[in-house]
Amino acid sequence: MLNISKFKYLVLFIMAILIPTLLNGQDATAPAPAPAAPTLDKADTVWLIVSSALVFFMIPGLALFYGGIVKSKNVLSTMMHSFIAIIVLTLQWTIFGYSFAFSGSNPYYGDFSLAFLNGIDLDTLEGSIPKFVHFLFQGMFALITPALISGAIAERIKLSGYVAFILIWATLVYDPVAHWVWAADGWLFKDGALDFAGGTVVHLISGIAGLAAALVIGKRKGDPSTLTHPNNMTYTLLGSGLLWFGWFGFNAGSGLKIDGLAARAFVVTLIAPAAAGATWLIIEWIHTKKATALGAASGIVAGLVVITPAAGFVSPVSAIIMGLLVSPVCYGAILLKGKLGYDDTLDAFGIHGVGGAFGAILTGVFALSLAEGVTRGHQIQVQVVSVVATGAYSFIASYIIAFLIEKSIGFRIEEDKEINGLDQEIHGENGYGI
């Protein structure tokens, strides 16, 4: 009974947000006219090369963010998950991943015409930038997305299982979904789904994949009350700062050019995490009477996640509202973890999955301009379809991939190795000397 009445409030709350915007839907204006034949723009090229480097820097940032939260006996293995993603997936992206995501005319997946960057030359363009830069920029997203999953399954997986998982997952989940949403022939792109920098393609599907994999491999050994011993919160704070720094390239580069839109995307990427950090700390203060460093870091990341799909479409005021709203949602999702009993080690699902879905839907609510003839209600409907389609596809595919790996080469590490710590057992090293 109690649950039903809580749901009622939730529904009322959502409607209170939606109804005014539905009524305003008619104000939507048409998008800019199509540009002329592409020529190389040097400023765009510079900005996208810089942005690629910024996004790359998020991966070591993620390693620090995740590495600080685990136990000291697993700090290296957790940070290595991010670095192994760089190593393995750079090769996958070069050999066939880029082609599978961004070529061909099929609405569901690409082909292999660009495998090994075949046919891409110094003067091959994608819009106003060299195709090489497009390969680089999109490649950074393809590296970090599978690395995000490692947060849900840290402290208890085999290295071989992890490598197999991210390789298969990048091929069967990330590349196709990137094709759906971002390739010119992708079905969600044609449907008009708005995802500026990857709310669904990056955060939703990686968070959901983390949940699916965590369900397959099970909980870490031990009582939940003995599991939370962050080894170094200073890493985590620094990591969240580096993520934020890199995210300016992630969001402001996603328009694939340097213009006012990129500038505004940069602005909202500064604003939303600040708002989300504020609400996270306030909620925590009310709930536990403490304002934790982990709370600040989590709020910042939740704010970055929620603004990602919206970065190119919303006003600075909307960025404040989205930031303020995302923290209670993600905080609630993390509390729910204890009740539902799955073990999402570092809350990859609670923050990236839930925050990504929430951001994608709010993008429909707050987008400043919609395509011609599209009402606000229809746009929100398209956003919900994109969330459900990408989320459901990622959950089912990830569950099957994780399950097959667990049954074949093994995903979960042996119990005695888990007790001794993955650093010593897998890597033969310790994060900290005496």
Partner: protein, 114 residues
């Protein structure tokens, strides 16, 4: 009055703490230590070269108790610190006499100060 010093496996600390609390032993000092006994260390890797590290991470507990608490304390540690697989490395318990205990706050001495 006795000082009980126990060297245990690091991952057993939480269980030992819980078991001590259950047996109403509310005083405990814990330190991170390194050492070895029968395990004789392990192998680590540094840029491709294996080398022997003969110091292993352990946790050292120090508990000062009155005589009647010695048995419950030892029993609690024995019960909770054993990994139960018959493997070496679970650690040891040492019991030694205490000459005097003085509470710094008020200078109180003896059994009541412990």
């Amino acid at each position: 009055m006795k000082l009980i010093v126990a060297i245990i496996q690091p991952h057993k600390l939480e269980e030992v703490k819980a078991e001590l609390t259950k047996n109403e032993i509310y005083r405990l000092t814990v330190s991170d230590v390194q050492g070895y006994g029968q395990q004789k260390g392990k192998t680590e890797v540094f840029r491709g070269h294996e080398y022997q590290v003969n110091l292993l991470r352990k946790v050292r507990l120090e508990i000062a108790v009155n005589d009647e608490f010695v048995k419950p304390t030892v029993d609690a540690i024995l019960k909770s610190a054993k990994t139960g697989e018959g493997k070496i490395g679970d650690g040891k318990i040492f019991i030694m006499p205490i000459e005097e205990v003085i509470r710094i706050r008020n200078g109180e001495r003896g059994n009541s100060a412990i």
